[in-house]
Amino acid sequence: MKWPAHVEALQGAVVALGARELGPNAARWDSSAGFEPTFAAKVADWGLFGVSVPEVQGGAGAGLLGAAVVIEEIAAHSGSLAMRLALHEGVAVGFALGLADTSLLARLIGNGGFAGWVGLGRGVTAEQSSDRLRLQGSVCMAPGDGDLVVAGHGTGGPRVGFVAADQLSSGRARAACGLRAVGWTDVVIDADVEHSGNAAVAARLGARLSVLIGAVACGLARAAISQATAYAQVREQFGQSIAQFQAIQWKLANGATERDAAWLLVTDAAGRLDAQRPAANEAAARAQLAAVRMSVSACSEALQVHGGYGYTREFPIERLLRDARACTAIDRGDDDLRAALAAAITARFE
């Protein structure tokens, strides 16, 4: 696909970075369920924070589309890092951009660490007073133990606020099936925050995150299909490479077709959100729904191509499948996405 020149340049840089820094370490991050303490600083140095932020505000100026391209590329190496960036860029950076809060943006683009997200439906209450938002709740399996953007329900409807890490009490770390290096942690939230947003803000952040979760899912699927293709060409059974069997060819063909279709939905939704076009949130939900379902299927089929080898950790394919499956654990699940889409579709007929 042809991107604007500055997005293409970013993508090229991430391709090189992935081969040099990410791919060789991804399995270790997965097995140790986290990154090194200094890793966020490295990510900031690589320019991976603030990709969607305009250059005048200190970012890379690539918009959400650029962030999706970068995150898709990273996911092909490390799903966990890609998801941490999706949360950081999609929600936290999106929140700061919406507020035009330059100090918060500087914190997020600089070396403030990864920020996470606790979406609606996780049991957090949000009570707005005249100048403060009080967020309270215990959240099981929040992504990471850094700053959090937290959404909650209150008497005035949904509200969302930025909670700095030092306002949170972290509980025990949780072992998870996939995206292990995200660093799943129980947190207790009891914070008064200054900056807050309403339901529309929560919806916009959810849409940004949907696009970037879709990008993670597409990157995982692309890696899985690439690895299955390479393996099928060298693995010989019954006197020929297994790539010559129609059963394998169809898996690869179906996987590549469905992955490309999902990626087009993701980039279309990113473009709509960047341009603030109508129905952008609906497009984002559709992209996430399609991409995550596609990714689980593509990774599972790619594992099948690997046969018994695919079930072992000797090959990265089992990690890709776990990571793809975990994409639904970050925010809205399939049923929530379908409900949102159905509401949008039926609203058009009213």
């Binding site: 099936c177 799943w184 010989e236 019954f238 059963a247 049923d335």
Partner: protein, 391 residues
Amino acid sequence: MYDLVPEPGELAVQTLAQRIAGEVLRPAAVDLDRRGGFPTESLLALSRSGLMGINVPRDLGGLAAGPVAYSLAVTALAHACASTTVALCVNNMVAEVVTHFGSPDQRAAHVPKLCDGGHVVGAFALSEASAGSDPAGMRTRARRTERGWVIDGSKLWITSGSDAGLFVVWAKTSDDPGTRGISCFLVPGDTPGLSRGKPEHKLGLCGSTTCAIEFSGCEVGPQALLDDVGRGFRVAMMALDGGRIGIASQAIGIGRAATQAAASWACERYGANGVPQGVAFALADSATELDAAALLTLRAAWLKREGRPFSHQASMAKLLASEKAFAACNRALGMMGAQGQDCDHPVERFFRDVRVTMIYEGTSEVQRVVVSRDIARRYDADPRSPSELRL
């Protein structure tokens, strides 16, 4: 047609398996999965119960309960702990192979020890690095000597390879093309020249070991040869046909456990009468598909019990059961969101464990080859008679 209602003796074995699953396997499953290794204590309890030789004659230490009882028991055990169950399945398969193909001396020497834990467990050493779905690619060789046979080569993905006391080993004994030159040997685990690799790190079944086994100048006596020279492939295929009933049953047990866990979660979250259709229908699909797979599996087991051909029916059962069980676990994990991903909840273990049922003892693709060949054969025999494809 088929009488798929189990007999009282078969149901008694199912009840026994359910009791041991509840009392022994389920309480140990989480810890076993986390620490990895071999399920020694659970297998010891299974050895005491007779379940290590369900389809083995009583005079050899088994329950003589037949393949239907075996299927029901495996489903009940896998519902609690798939890792322990796979070791039991392979042990039962080895015990049946020795019972069926072994000489009286071989049967007496090994089958009682497979049933009572004297061998710890048995292992099935067929696959190799270059011979997964295609046994003709086998490179392990057995050379005849004055004192018996010397085996050289290496095997891969051997379930229970770390602890097994008896290996059924397949090796080429001639240069005949294809599978004709393959013979089968019984090799005790302490035979000099047999060495065990480190257990593989795997996606699931972390409480069961999967190892490479090396044979380097491994010398065995003439009594180690199972069945005749060059007949090993027939032994393997017969064992795998029965084994596929076991894997189908295992998949159904895991799929049902995931579906029940998800249903329990849904009722707690939404209330029994408030589960939304998106969740409720997914559970209905899982329950329906797993019941269909269970009936296919019982059909294959019934045919085996009656001494009738059951090869393609076993493949159908394994194909449907493994794929629908994976779908059920995938649905369960998806509907539970972050909670499903939490390693404190068993559904993520079910998801990791079930995936291999589409791979081992013949991938889904191999099952489709078996089923499609059978369809082609029957149509070729009488192309005007589609009724040939009826049950």
